[in-house]
Amino acid sequence: MLKKRVGIEVSLAVAEAVKLARAQVVSAYPITPQTHIVEELSTYVANGELDAEFIPVESEHSAMSAAVGASAAGARVYTATSSQGLALMHEILFIASAQRLPIVMTVANRSLSGPISIWNDHSDIMSERDIGWVQLFVEDGQEATELTIAAFKIAEDHRVLLPVAVNMDGFILTHMIEPVVFPEQAAVDAFLPPYSPAMRLDPAKPVTMGPVGVPEVYMEAKKQCEQALLDSKAVVKEVLGEVNTAFGRKYDLVETNGRKKAKTLFVTMGSLGESVWSAVDGLNEDGEDVGQVRIRLWRPFPVKEFKKACKGAKRLIVIDRAMSPGSICGPVAQELKNIYYGDKDAPEIVDVVAGLGGRDVPVADFREMYRLAKKGKLDKTYTLWGVDSNAD
């Protein structure tokens, strides 16, 4: 059966997905470029199209705190933020995962101040790598829609019970009008049953949530949370398979395109991957031996799947969207250097930190990166693209 395909701003598509997922509590504070999502959700609630409590909190710190409270009460909870807002939530993000609360949050990725910038990069989420959340990156509107719904299913699975952050690039994805095919409500209901909490704040069965972790138990508690995060990988994979069955499109933890078994691979995360894809297609047409690996699941990092996708590659050109000042390269390249450390057939990893603070990275730039890398002219540690000189 052909479903209706509509042209819609991706933010509004995400709001529609949250409505289809029947979120019961939305707590949110406005920050560009996340605003359109929560504006739309508040409109749904105002019109009675979504039976939820919309809590217009006074800060992102309270947005996450209220989300924690509502989730502990047993409700399906959604919030969205960006940049400074995510940074303000920082303290509570760790507590949300430690208390095993399946909150779903869209992060409309935006650079962190200073200097203040409303535009896109990944510096907000890269400062939150260790919060213990499942972290996904999406590339387009259809994926943003479907994985927002899937995020609830992953989070609420009793084998997981962890919050999930769905990352999407601010403006360059959130504010694009893209063609999206929405699943029917009945299909979503069948895919995502009502949230059934493992425990909740109920006077009939009192529980103590968030007790003091004395030194004798603190490390075991941390281990349990990490184990849950590591174990979530299998559930993410399983749910992505169910998305395929229910809604038709196929997703995996990491995906590849371009020439098979290419010697050089671009590594991307997020919507810049689409520009790289175009560049790779063009380079393949020119006969170049290059492909691309796109990371969809960032936490837990799918080590095995990533290495499998890169098998045989001699060089990885990593497109990082954030800096890690004082370290040797950007955060994604750090991750990859870590996972390959000690491997005999480890590929050379060259890191390009590109497109910070909304700086445009056109398709031609990726072709140029490839050309420089091929000639060994890209710094093997890292290049701040367009700022550091790599002239040959």
């Binding site: 409590e53 710190h61 047993g74 509570i92 704040l201 006077p203």
Partner: protein
């Protein structure tokens, strides 16, 4: 703005005093702790159908060292500054679950936080929650400093008190600012119910809890909670000092119902503030002139309260 609010509640008297405390014994509070005493009274008045959000602080620490818990109520601790926001979320969650028929009855939500968590770091979250109108009770247990971290001053520490970060010294009388008036700040939000209470007047405290839970919308209860450890006071003197605070007018008991100020207790023969200050080591360094200054400030505050009661009371219309 004044609103007439009729509060329908079951009054507590000496004859029907609720006996069930929802905080079990064996918790690790100090001897004579005014906070745990008051919190126990709140739970006695509130009953079983309660969900608690607790700020980081003494009460969280002493009641929840995993794997033990003193709580017989569903209880959640998240962080220091966000209890009002956590309570907001719990309230909203329970509200929607009740509306959708997922739970039969919507329990009341009570937030507990100390003065630092309320007057300083959590003031924004509190203001937000009160302004949004969540149907919950926020209880500030005011022991006038950051006791959990070692008796540092807060904006609720009274003038002249020595603390570890407002120490009395050759150049200082200790805390050099006046105590922030949290009940008035809460009342400024136009919420239906605000009150002050003291564990030395337990019936008054418990009935205020009942009223706070009976109104629709946010309620704020500011509870005076002596800290023998932080104030330099014998544990056995805790309730006595709480009574003296009221009878010297240092801590007036009053309600603000729909904007109308009602003084709960007017001491017929108020005692001098010196009676209150003298047993406490935190005021030991003060001289005669300082005590006189405190007396003037206490009298002025009482006068202001009486004017508020007169201006907003029904009799004057």
């Amino acid at each position: 703005m004044l609103t007439d609010i009729a509060i329908d509640y079951e009054k507590i008297t000496a004859k029907n005093l609720p006996k069930e405390c929802m905080i079990s014994s064996g918790h690790r509070a100090c001897q004579g702790c005014g906070e745990i005493l008051a919190m126990g009274m709140v739970t006695k008045a509130a009953g079983r159908d309660i969900v608690v959000a607790n700020a980081t602080g003494c009460m969280e620490i002493v009641t929840s060292p995993y794997p033990q818990t003193a709580w017989k109520l569903p209880w959640m601790h998240v962080a220091f500054e966000n209890t009002a926001a956590v309570g907001s979320g719990i309230e909203a969650g329970l509200k929607v679950l009740h509306r959708q028929g997922k739970i039969k009855k919507k329990p009341h939500v009570i937030c507990f936080a100390g003065d630092g968590a309320t007057a300083d770091i959590g003031l924004q979250a509190l203001s937000g929650a009160l302004e949004r109108g969540h149907d919950m009770l926020y209880v500030c247990l005011d022991n006038e400093a950051y006791m959990n971290t070692g008796i540092q001053r807060s904006s609720s520490t009274p003038w002249g008190a020595t603390t570890t970060t407002s120490p009395a010294g050759r150049q200082s009388k200790g805390q050099h600012t006046q105590k922030k008036n949290l009940p008035l700040i809460a009342a400024a939000h136009g919420i239906p119910y605000v009150a002050t209470a003291s564990p030395a007047f337990h019936l008054d405290l418990m009935n205020k809890v009942r009223k706070a839970l009976a109104v629709d919308g946010p309620a704020y209860l500011h509870v005076y909670a002596p800290c023998p450890t932080g104030w330099g006071l014998a544990g056995a003197k805790s309730v006595e000092i709480a009574r003296l605070a009221v009878n010297t007018k240092v801590f007036p008991l009053y309600e603000v119902i729909g904007g109308r100020f009602v003084i709960s207790r007017k001491p017929a023969k108020p005692l001098p503030v010196l009676d209150y200050l003298k047993p406490q080591r935190r005021f030991r360094h003060l001289g005669e002139n300082d005590v006189a200054a405190i007396q003037r400030s206490v009298d002025a505050a009482w006068d202001y309260l009486e004017r508020l009661a007169k201006a907003t009371g029904k009799d004057e219309e």
